[in-house]
């Protein structure tokens, strides 16, 4: 028997939504001149996100707790092209980050440079090796503007070889070679 009713769950989920600042929801125009540096503390995820200006782009720094140790993180920014306000022209930037396996006082930190002056918080997710579809991942990897080296990807795949379902192991294993062959 259900313990919580739909009505109760709706109310709880509404309360779980954090107040949002300085990040457009998908398909709203990005703030044209947001402030940098910018920080977001996401205690629900045990993660801090920091963006600072560097050159014509930004430097993204993620600092996370144990759940982020060695994680392959997919980051995504979506916005509307503000140079064409009369049309809804969606823009996006995808990036992969590999968090380190060695941390400091239980925190793991990685910095990457993003070649676009983004001032709002990205959407982030950890790839879960047990469930990720290698075909979908491979395409996302190709599309990502920023990503670790193929050698780092190979190491991540090797570290998770036993986590992948048997039917996907070979596809994952051969992926770095396939991607390398594409140049």
């Amino acid at each position: 028997m259900d313990i919580l009713t739909d009505k109760e769950l709706t109310r709880i989920f509404a309360a779980l939504r954090s107040p949002r600042e300085a990040r457009p929801t998908t398909l709203e125009a990005a703030p044209p001149a947001g402030q940098l540096p910018n920080n977001w503390d996401l205690p629900e995820l045990n993660l801090r996100v920091h963006l600072e200006a560097i050159g014509t782009g930004v430097r993204l720094r993620l600092t996370g707790g144990e759940a982020w140790r060695g994680a392959l993180v997919y980051c995504r920014w979506d916005w509307l092209d503000s140079t064409q306000p009369d049309k809804e022209v969606p823009e996006s930037l995808h990036a992969f980050l590999l968090m380190p396996t060695e941390g400091f006082r239980g925190f793991y930190q990685r910095e990457v440079d993003i070649p676009e002056r983004l001032t709002f918080q990205p959407i982030l997710a950890r790839i879960v090796p047990k469930y990720a579809d290698p075909a979908v991942f491979e395409q996302q990897w190709r599309d990502a503007r920023v990503k670790p080296s193929l050698q780092e990807l190979r190491q991540w795949i090797e570290a998770h070889q036993n986590d992948f379902p048997p039917r996907h192991r070979e596809t994952w294993h051969d992926m770095p070679d396939r991607l390398a062959a594409e140049g």
Partner: protein, 206 residues
Amino acid sequence: MGMFSEWQIDSFRVRLRDFVSDDANALNALQQLLCQAREALVDIAIANGVPPDDAEDLVQETLRQATTDSALRRLWERYNHEAHPGIYLHERLRGVISDYRRRRIPPTVSLEGIREQGYDIVAPAPQPGLSSVQRQHLWQVIRKCVEDDLDFQILYLKIAEEMKHEQIAELLCVSCDNVRGRYSDAVNQLRQCLEFRRACEALGLI
């Protein structure tokens, strides 16, 4: 996007290319092909909360917009040989539904006007507010209740980030059906998790 078979998708791309190359017969073929998704689109509209009576009109409008000269040319310019009729129609339908909802927002009425008409002014029920620490605590409880990292992330992206299943699937590199099924299972797990219920009670949410 299971509205079209692989063969139909290939055919759509060929016809789209012919259309932008000014083949006079291509538009008719494209219209016929896209209209085959009519029933699937009606189902999607209804699943998105559109009353069945209105769903068919919205789908008709979607198909009309999708088969205009400018829309088809723009599709080719943006996606070329990778244009996907299912995704194309789905996005068009989303826009039409969004316009429809906007039109249905009731006009603003002044408080004085309501009083003059003899109605009571009922204050909306206050939305439950949680501090950052309380929210963090509740998410920790959720983490324990659902255990699996994928399920936790799906719940977080759906509830906190208000993302759609398709977007979550893309982000986690899993199929959309997987996200839909796991979200539903995870919500059921939460419903039955005693610790979650106790935490919600302690925070005055239920």
